[in-house]
């Protein structure tokens, strides 16, 4: 089979790529880009209302989005082979950084999360980096073997996941650790982890809750859980956030109070309205309709990502893309469940919408990898 024939087949199999040929030359996926643009654009509209300074905060966020899109574009150009080759090194670098954090790290409120770089470079948060590092490593490891993985391999993967997980718990940063571990497990699940083991792990997870409660969780974390179970116990203290958030959401009704008319956010009843609780602003001003539209956009984004994963040509690419898609959705679920009072308050921003630079750039970097996977297929095959 000649390269030309294959190229033709591939092109024919993807109508969209042919139509948007300038996009394919830039290695961008138009569907994904459209969905991301809708989410981020809508996010800016909500942010304009949620922020106290109006345009200033929107401009600042737009700048971060611009940087993020640039990063995405760069990441999309790289051959997936490159990511596979770098995966173990990136992982090891991350683990070393996590150890260094424990030894020399700086931080606040009793937790060490930051690592200062010499020479005036901005300080970095290795645990944030591991949100990408762990799925890369797990995908690399599982991509080298036939799937589903055997028990020994599964145990080795679990070790690969548990090492950074434990280091992050030790900082301590339980929230990030859970997300990092979940990212690894998502890849493992897609690789065909046996249902028996899944059940066993769910059972083990359930059994470990008392252990976590007694030995790992901090008082403030326990308080958040207790507050979730009974927000009325301290409506002006720990329960304030969740009470006000639910009031904002519920008072929005079907159509919402209108853009810029949200009283909960504009009169400062809703805390963190432009960061973690921005979903409540959306719900208050655009109502159930606005919420449903955003959730559907998120779901479509994830489904598009899973489609990209399913048509990927290497095991590594498949596992990595699928893992990133599931993690992305997990962020959405955790944040939205938290804001609507289904989960304890954890510091997870709403992906692509909450104000904040690190999160957006990391996420768009991930989408850049996904686009790279999707748009480099011909080269991979040829």
């Amino acid at each position: 089979m000649s390269g030309g024939f294959l190229r033709q087949i591939t092109i024919e199999s993807d109508e969209l790529q042919r139509r948007g040929s300038w996009m394919s030359r830039l290695h961008l996926d138009p569907w994904l880009l459209l969905l991301l643009s809708l989410i981020m654009g809508g996010g800016l509209v909500v942010l304009y209302s949620a922020g106290e300074n109006g345009m200033a905060i929107v401009q600042s966020q737009a700048l971060r989005i611009g940087v993020g899109l640039l990063v995405m574009l760069v990441f999309a150009q790289l051959d997936p082979m490159l990511y596979r080759r770098w995966s173990p090194w990136l992982y090891m670098l991350g683990v070393i950084a996590l150890v260094l954090v424990l030894l020399f790290g700086a931080g606040a409120q009793g937790a060490q999360r930051w690592l200062a770089l010499p020479g005036g470079l901005p300080r970095v948060q290795p645990s944030e980096f591991m949100k990408l590092g762990v799925p890369l490593m797990v995908a690399w490891f599982l991509g080298r073997m036939s799937l589903p993985p055997r028990l020994l391999s599964t145990l080795m993967v679990l070790g690969v996941i548990a090492l950074p997980g434990a280091l992050i718990i030790a900082q301590p940063d339980l929230g990030t650790a859970v997300l990092v571990i979940a990212a690894g497990l998502a890849v493992l699940f897609l690789a065909g982890l046996s249902w028996k083991l899944i059940m066993l792990m769910v059972a083990a997870g359930g059994a470990s809750i008392p252990v976590l409660w007694l030995f790992v969780m901090r008082d403030y974390q326990k308080e958040r859980v207790l507050t979730l179970l009974n927000p009325g116990s301290d409506p002006l203290g720990a329960g304030w956030n969740i009470t006000q958030s639910k009031a904002a959401i519920g008072s929005g009704g079907l159509h919402g109070k209108g853009w810029g008319e949200g009283t909960q956010s504009h009169l400062d009843f809703l805390p963190e309205s432009h960061t973690d609780f921005i979903m409540a602003v959306l719900a208050e001003e655009f109502g159930f309709v606005g919420v449903t539209v955003l959730l559907v956009l998120y779901a479509l984004t994830v489904i598009r990502c899973l489609y990209i994963a399913s048509v990927a040509q290497s095991s590594f690419s498949r596992l990595l893309s699928g893992g990133l898609a599931i993690i992305f959705f997990m962020y959405v679920v955790v944040n939205v469940a938290m804001v609507s009072g289904l989960m304890p308050v954890v510091g997870v921003p709403l992906p692509l919408v909450s104000f904040g630079g690190t999160s957006i750039v990391t996420l768009l970097a991930g989408f850049g990898i996904l686009m790279a996977v999707h748009t480099h297929r011909r080269m991979l095959e040829s």
């Binding site: 080298r144 073997m145 036939s146 799937l147 589903p148 391999s153 699940f189 897609l190 690789a191 065909g192 009470t243 006000q244 639910k246 009031a247 904002a248 959401i249 519920g250 008072s251 929005g252 009704g253 079907l254 009283t263 909960q264 009169l267 400062d268 009843f269 719900a283 109502g287 159930f288 919420v291 449903t292 959730l295 559907v296 998120y298 779901a299 994830v302 489904i303 899973l306 994963a309 399913s310 095991s315 498949r318 596992l319 699928g322 898609a325 599931i326 959705f329 679920v333 939205v336 469940a337 609507s340 009072g341 289904l342």
Partner: protein, 636 residues
């Protein structure tokens, strides 16, 4: 490939697709759960959360009414509301109060007394987030300095508040009284809803009597506040109904003349228009500046007033109870004539004392040696005690009490004077009830000259004297004349009908009044000293009220310490045939009524009948003279 050499690409792809399918199902389910959660919150429970959200931001705030003004009979403002800029602190927003006060001290002057009052207000009942005043009467430069430093002083605000102001604070202290901050005691007796937003309440005087009218009705506004309680906008407003303005019968010029006539002596003057009962002046000296009480007087100033030997806070005009002495002789004479105990022509020999039949007890006349043969007429003019001793003994306590009661002795005489005391009209029944003792003939004798158990207030003496001036008609004293400028006060005043005093013949009344005229105008009258230059006919009666009795002993006034001296009394009305004014004067420890009290009364009467001195009409009372004659009187 280092591991898994037997890779089956197609199988792996299928496995991945199955797992992706599971993941998509899970994603759709989770999205469904989240959508369901929002459906529950936004659609099913929408009403609940809309209410919570509204309750967050919407608040009903009371809007206090503006307190009614008080004018004198000529429209002169006696009590008004002035905007005062004050520095307030919201305690809920302050973490370290002491440090904050220190910091404020660097910007505006804060005296230790201010801090003391502030601490006291902090401890009082108040609404959460209600600003507590620290400093009143900020100057403009202080306001400017505060504005510059405001950002560094969380919880500190300046506000303009209407504060009661009494332009004649010292002159009107005992008439108007004053308002003060609502304290726990007030709070328990007022309607909390009606007083929501009101800071001050009438504490004494007319401010207390007419509290309901002066206060007005509270208004409300629905406001939107942010999470820190700051009002963002007013959504709806129901205006308060301002308090009603009161116009008094009082003439501030006469009040001032009376005040000055007493000078620095302790005493009281009550002046009434006998035709209406309207109080023209009501003075108790020394006065005090009521403005100090409005925003809360500090401890030092208060104890100075409270502990002063001169008792400036004591309203002598309405609460001072003194033996009325000889001032009741005209009423007693009418009682004697009406009861046929004596006749107009009966003559009694006055040897300078009276001795009860079958007893060795001697009651002295004030004049040693006595007045010789005296009729009832002479007894009033000369103020013969002996005549009245004898008459009182013959009438007996019970009958005297019956007759005197009609004049108003022993009961509150006025309609709207706060805390007026009733005095004591003694009698056999009263003595048995109060002291559990029988009435002795000696008690009757003492009662006959207004001594013994007999007590009366200057207000009461003016009221009872005006019954004589009116030839029997009773017009209870009252302050209120008009409401809201021109509505007659009648329906606001207690609906009391006081039947006229009908005793004796009409000639008896003229007989007594003629005698009272001779007290002033006669060559032997006890008050003849004030007659020179009098261009109108005045009827009066002097009185001396014993502070303590020195029975059967001679004493020299000079030897008795000043505060042991007798109180001087004088009651009078003029012109005698058609009275326009009744005056009662009390000078504590003034000695004799004729020498001390009568000249004071004449000054007051002169001003009313002949017109006020130029100085008063033009300077002291600006704008008062527009529509009224020089004396500012009109028929009501």
């Amino acid at each position: 490939m280092s591991w898994g050499t037997l890779r089956n690409s197609g199988q792996e792809r299928e496995l991945f697709k199955r797992r992706s399918f599971v993941a998509i199902i899970a994603i759709i389910l989770l999205t469904g759960v989240l959508v369901g959660r929002f459906y529950y919150l936004q659609i099913i429970e929408h009403e609940t959360y809309a209410t919570i959200s509204d309750r967050n931001r919407l608040q009903v705030q009371p809007v206090p009414p503006t307190r009614g003004l008080i004018h004198d009979r000529n429209g002169v403002l006696l009590a008004e509301n002035r905007p005062v800029f004050s520095l307030t602190v919201i305690p809920e927003q302050v973490s370290d109060m002491d440090a904050l006060i220190e910091e404020i001290r660097g910007i505006v002057q804060v005296r230790p007394e201010d801090v003391e009052s502030f601490q006291r207000r902090l401890g009082e009942r108040r609404r959460p987030f209600e600003p507590v005043p620290l400093r009143y009467h900020l100057s403009e430069s202080e306001m400017a300095r505060l504005a510059v430093n405001r950002h560094s002083l969380p919880g500190v605000e300046t506000e303009a508040r209407l504060v009661r102001y009494y332009p004649y604070g010292r002159l009107t202290a005992h008439v108007l009284g004053y308002v003060g901050r609502i304290n726990e005691q007030d709070a328990s007796r007022i309607d909390q809803v009606a007083y929501a937003g009101t800071h001050y309440i009438g504490k004494t005087g007319l401010e207390r009597v007419y509290e309901e009218e002066l206060h007005g009705e509270v208004g409300y506004q629905n406001v939107e506040t942010n999470a820190r309680g700051r009002v963002m906008r007013v959504l709806e407003r129901e205006d308060p109904t301002p308090g009603r303005d009161l116009t008094l019968s009082l003439d501030i010029r006469l009040q001032q003349v009376a005040h000055e006539a007493l000078g620095d002596r302790r005493g009281a003057i009550v002046a009434i228009n006998p035709e209406t009962g309207g109080l023209l002046a009501q003075v108790s000296t020394p006065g005090f500046d009521t403005n100090k009480f409005v925003t809360g007087i500090d401890h030092e100033n208060y104890s100075e007033l409270r502990d002063s030997l001169d008792k400036p806070l004591f309203n002598r005009a309405t609460r001072g109870q003194y033996p009325p002495g000889s001032t009741i002789k005209p009423m007693m004479a009418l009682a004697g004539l009406a009861s046929d105990t004596v006749t107009q022509s009966d003559v009694v020999h006055d040897p300078g004392y009276y001795k009860l039949p079958n007893s060795s007890q001697v009651f002295r006349n004030w004049k040693r040696g006595g007045h010789g043969d005296t009729t009832l007429y002479d007894a009033i003019v000369l103020s013969s005690d002996t005549y009245f001793y004898k008459m009182a003994y013959e009438m007996g306590g019970a009958e005297m009490a019956d007759y005197l009661e009609h004049f108003g002795f022993g009961s509150v005489t006025s309609l709207d004077v706060s805390d007026e005391r009733a005095g004591i009209l003694p009698g056999p029944q009263w003595k048995r009830r109060v002291h559990g003792e029988p009435w002795y003939p000696g008690d009757s004798v003492n009662m006959g000259i207004g001594q013994g158990y007999f007590l009366s207030t200057p207000m009461q003496l003016a009221a009872t004297t005006s019954v004589i001036a009116n030839r029997g008609a009773r017009r209870p004293p009252r302050h209120l004349r008009y409401i809201d400028g021109d509505i007659p006060a009648r329906h606001l005043l207690p609906d009391v009908v006081r039947p006229p005093v009908e005793m004796g013949e009409k000639s008896d009344w003229e007989y007594v009044i003629n005698a009272m005229e001779d007290v002033v105008h006669g060559s032997n009258g006890t008050a003849r000293g004030i007659s020179p230059g009098l261009n109108y006919r005045m009827a009066g009666k002097t009185g001396t009220s014993q502070v303590f009795s020195l029975e059967g002993e001679e004493y020299d006034e000079d030897e008795v310490a000043e505060r042991m001296r007798d109180h001087a009394l004088f009651v009078a009305f003029a012109p005698a045939d058609d009275p326009e004014i009744v005056v009662s004067v009390l000078v504590e420890n003034g000695g004799s009524g004729s020498a001390t009290a009568a000249p004071v009364a004449r000054q007051v009467m002169d001003a009313w009948i002949n017109g006020f001195p130029e100085v008063l009409t033009n300077q002291a009372i600006p704008g008062a003279m527009e529509n009224n004659g020089p004396s500012g009187r009109d028929p009501q």
